[in-house]
Structures are given as structure tokens and as C-alpha cells.
């Protein structure tokens, strides 16, 4: 058997010049060295706020979370949430196993080393008496916290900087508008970058999710031609061509259209890649999104439909795990909010934030890249990695950190 591209033997036959392999013959990208900051951010990008848990889950009893590889103890005191490095400097015991022996403090469960919640300073050592010589001489790191969208957010600093206002990092439409939101916070296996790339990935939803129950109500094309449009701190996926079915040479016709599923719209509308609706929510319309899927740092996905927006926050836990925070927002007020309770708890929670999103979790868990061989729709992935590089360079320049 002859290899088609094997060089001619030196001992006979005409020697053919070695040709450069076609692009499709090349082995693909072996690493992410084209995006060094992104490559190095296995445990997440520092210098951002991250949602770590529901506000109602943080009480006077400490809660342990891991964020960007750092173990953090959360505790609520007088209504305020505090975050401390979850390790007693004495013997390395997690402070989150301790409790509050004095107001405004957290005591280690082992020997009663007691730390002030505000600044992390060791303010008492119960088993060494009131005149303990170590008191006030050390402490544990503290992290800035905030509460938004019913969740606790923790800022992980890049250096020793003050955090930027959390509202400048939230999607703009969520800062001042009134709305209803339903969400799911779930620990998941796999690196946060795979989850983020999956969220903004142009290609997968049409195929991977074809079996999900959510797709009974949401038609998706077979393939698209997509370009990426940057706007402010966001990048948008914009569909230039939408193909609902296609003939594949030599193999046949493929479509995800089925008689039992909602049929594709006659005219595709930009928001949600759906049919033109009778009415678009005024808040969503006023945003003038160039495309329905957008992404910003440090891994915030926004999928805008005519009457609701779905967000995903990919929270880095460590190099091998992340936390999925899915949020469905409906800009409704008054009696219409009751309908949202029913819709979210009765359907969306199970179908979209459940089975549909579970298919993503499955793929994120088994993704293993690089090496990788990207294809045309992966412009969404490379644009995101480039955005991460640019935003990180900007942040480092602003902070003067290297």
C-alpha cells in the first residue's frame, strides 16, 4: 500500500517535490500558546467578581467555597457577608468548620484561634488566654464581597488592588431595571474554559441539543455562517446565513426538523434566532443587540430572546472543576411575576436549566483540548480567546501589574 503523500524513494523513481500539506491535512493546534494569558488561566482570571452561592445559603454558620483555586470561608454577620481564606495559619484547619464565638469574628474549631471578619486579623486565641502574645500579630486574607441577583459574589484580586464596582461587571441591563430571575447554581466537572467555550460555541447547540425536550419549543438550524461583532466589552455572534436543512454530498440530507417539534420560522429574527415575534420586550429591544449570543469577561454568556434573556456565568473552582450559574431573566413586574414563578419552577428549571444544560455539562466534562483541530464555526472560540487576551492586557496595564 502506498501513502499518497509519501516522498518518493531515493533509490529509484522520479523524485517529486514535497508539497505543503493542505490546511485540512495539518495536525491542528497543539497548544494554546497563541493566547498565553488564556492558556495560563486554568484556574480562572483574577481581578473579577464571581457569583459563588445563593445569598440565602450564607448564614452565621460558615460555608466553604473554592474559587480560582483558593479556599474561602463565607459567613454572614449582622446581615453582611464576609469572605476569609479558609485556612487557620496555626495548623491548616479549615476555618469554615468553626463557628462564631464572639460577634464579628470566626473561631477555628481546633484551638479557638479567632479572626475578625472585617480584616482577618487574629483578635483572640481562646486557648492561650487574653494576654496571648500572638494576638494581633497575624491574620488571614479577606476577600471583598457583594450581593447581587440573589447571590453572593466574591472578588478575587489580581494584586493588591481595590475591586472595581461590581455593577460595572454585570450585564448592563441587569443593573437598574426591575425583573424576575430564576437560576440554578451547580458544581460541575471540567475546566471553566471548556464550559465558557461551550456556551458561546456556534456549532454545538444545533446538533448536541437536538434530542432535548427544550428543542420541542425551539427550532434550531442545521448550520449557519457566523461572524463575530465586538461591541464594548462584549463580543456578539451574528448569523449571516441560516440553513435549516442541507444536502451533504455522498451521505444525504440532514435536518433536525420533525413533525412533533415546533417548525422553523419563515423569516429569521435576529434575537434568539427565532421567528419574528409579535412583540419584543422594550428593555431587550432598547439594548439593540447586534446578535443574540454575546460573551464578556470573565466568562459571562448572554443569550437574548425577544422576551427573555438567559445568562450563564462560568465560575472557576480549580483547574478541573467549575460552577455553572444559569440565570433566566424576564423583565416583568406586578401580577405577571406570578406567571414567571410557574414557568420557571414548572418548566424552565427542568427543561432548560436541567436536561438541556445537562447535555452541555456532559460535553464539558469529556472535552480534552488542546490539541484541537478547529473548524469554520469555531471563530466563536478564537474570538473569545482573543477577547480574553485583550481584556487581560488592558487590566494589567490599568493595574500596572505584571
Amino acid at each position: 500500500m502506498t501513502e499518497p503523500d509519501a516522498p518518493a524513494r531515493e533509490d529509484g523513481g522520479a523524485r517529486r517535490p514535497e508539497r505543503r500539506p493542505r490546511r485540512s491535512d495539518r495536525p491542528g493546534r497543539q497548544d494554546w500558546s497563541s493566547w498565553p494569558e488564556y492558556d495560563a488561566a486554568a484556574a480562572g482570571f483574577r481581578g473579577y467578581w464571581y457569583p459563588v452561592t445563593w445569598s440565602s445559603h450564607v448564614t452565621g454558620k460558615p460555608t466553604a467555597v473554592t474559587l480560582c483555586g483558593e479556599k474561602i470561608a463565607l459567613v454572614r454577620d449582622s446581615g453582611q457577608v464576609y469572605a476569609l481564606h479558609d485556612r487557620c495559619p496555626h495548623r491548616g484547619v479549615p476555618l469554615s468548620l468553626g463557628d462564631q464565638q464572639f460577634p464579628g469574628t470566626l473561631s477555628c474549631p481546633y484551638h479557638g484561634w479567632t479572626f475578625r471578619l472585617g480584616d482577618g486579623q487574629l483578635c483572640a486565641v481562646i486557648t492561650d488566654g487574653p494576654d496571648s502574645r500572638i494576638r494581633g500579630k497575624l491574620g488571614v486574607r479577606t476577600y471583598p464581597t457583594a450581593e447581587r441577583l440573589g447571590m453572593v459574589w466574591v472578588y478575587v484580586p489580581l494584586g493588591d488592588e481595590e475591586p472595581h464596582p461590581i455593577d460595572s461587571q454585570l450585564p448592563e441591563e441587569l443593573v437598574e431595571n426591575a425583573f424576575m430571575m430564576g437560576g440554578r447554581i451547580e458544581p460541575r466537572a471540567g475546566n471553566w474554559r471548556f464550559a465558557c467555550e461551550n456556551g458561546f460555541d456556534e456549532g454545538h447547540a444545533k446538533y448536541l441539543h437536538r434530542t432535548s425536550l427544550w428543542r420541542l419549543f425551539k427550532a434550531m438550524p442545521t448550520w449557519n455562517i457566523t461572524r463575530i461583532v465586538p461591541e464594548g466589552r462584549w463580543i456578539f455572534r451574528v448569523q449571516d446565513e441560516v440553513h435549516w436543512e442541507a444536502d451533504f454530498p455522498g451521505v444525504g440530507r440532514w435536518t433536525s426538523k420533525r413533525w412533533w417539534k415546533i417548525q422553523p420560522p419563515k423569516e429569521t429574527f435576529n434575537l434568539g434566532n427565532t421567528g419574528k415575534p409579535k412583540k419584543v420586550d422594550p428593555v431587550i429591544e432598547s439594548r439593540g443587540f447586534p446578535g443574540f449570543a454575546s460573551l464578556s469577561m470573565p466568562g459571562v454568556l448572554r443569550i437574548a430572546y425577544p422576551n427573555f434573556i438567559h445568562y450563564e456565568f462560568y465560575v472557576p473552582v480549580d483547574a478541573d472543576n467549575h460552577q455553572y450559574v444559569g440565570v433566566m431573566v424576564n423583565f416583568t413586574e406586578g401580577w405577571k411575576t406570578l406567571g414567571f414563578y410557574a414557568k420557571y419552577l414548572g418548566a424552565i428549571r427542568w427543561l432548560f436549566h436541567g436536561q438541556f444544560s445537562g447535555q452541555d455539562a456532559w460535553m464539558v466534562d469529556v472535552t480534552d483540548a488542546p490539541p484541537e483541530k478547529l473548524y469554520r464555526p469555531d471563530v466563536s472560540l478564537t474570538a473569545w480567546r482573543t477577547l480574553a487576551e485583550e481584556e487581560t492586557a488592558k487590566k494589567r496595564a490599568e493595574l500596572g501589574a505584571k
Binding site: W54, S56, H57, G150, F179, M181, R184, T337, Y341
Partner: protein
Amino acid sequence: MRRTLLTLIIGAGLAAAAPALWRWIARTSNTQVHRINQ
């Protein structure tokens, strides 16, 4: 009579416990619904 009384007592107990039950489910569930800025 006795059955009616029992039903009323259980019903009243469930009604009284409903808010606490709802808060417990909300506190422990990984899915929640919130009204924001309203």
C-alpha cells in the same frame, strides 16, 4: 365529626408550616426565583 376535626387540624398545621417549608426549600435548593429591583 372526629374526622373533620382531624382534617382541619392537619390542614391548619400544613398551612402554618407552608411559609417555613417554602423558605427551607428555597434555602437548600440549587434553583431559586427572585424579584430584583422591585
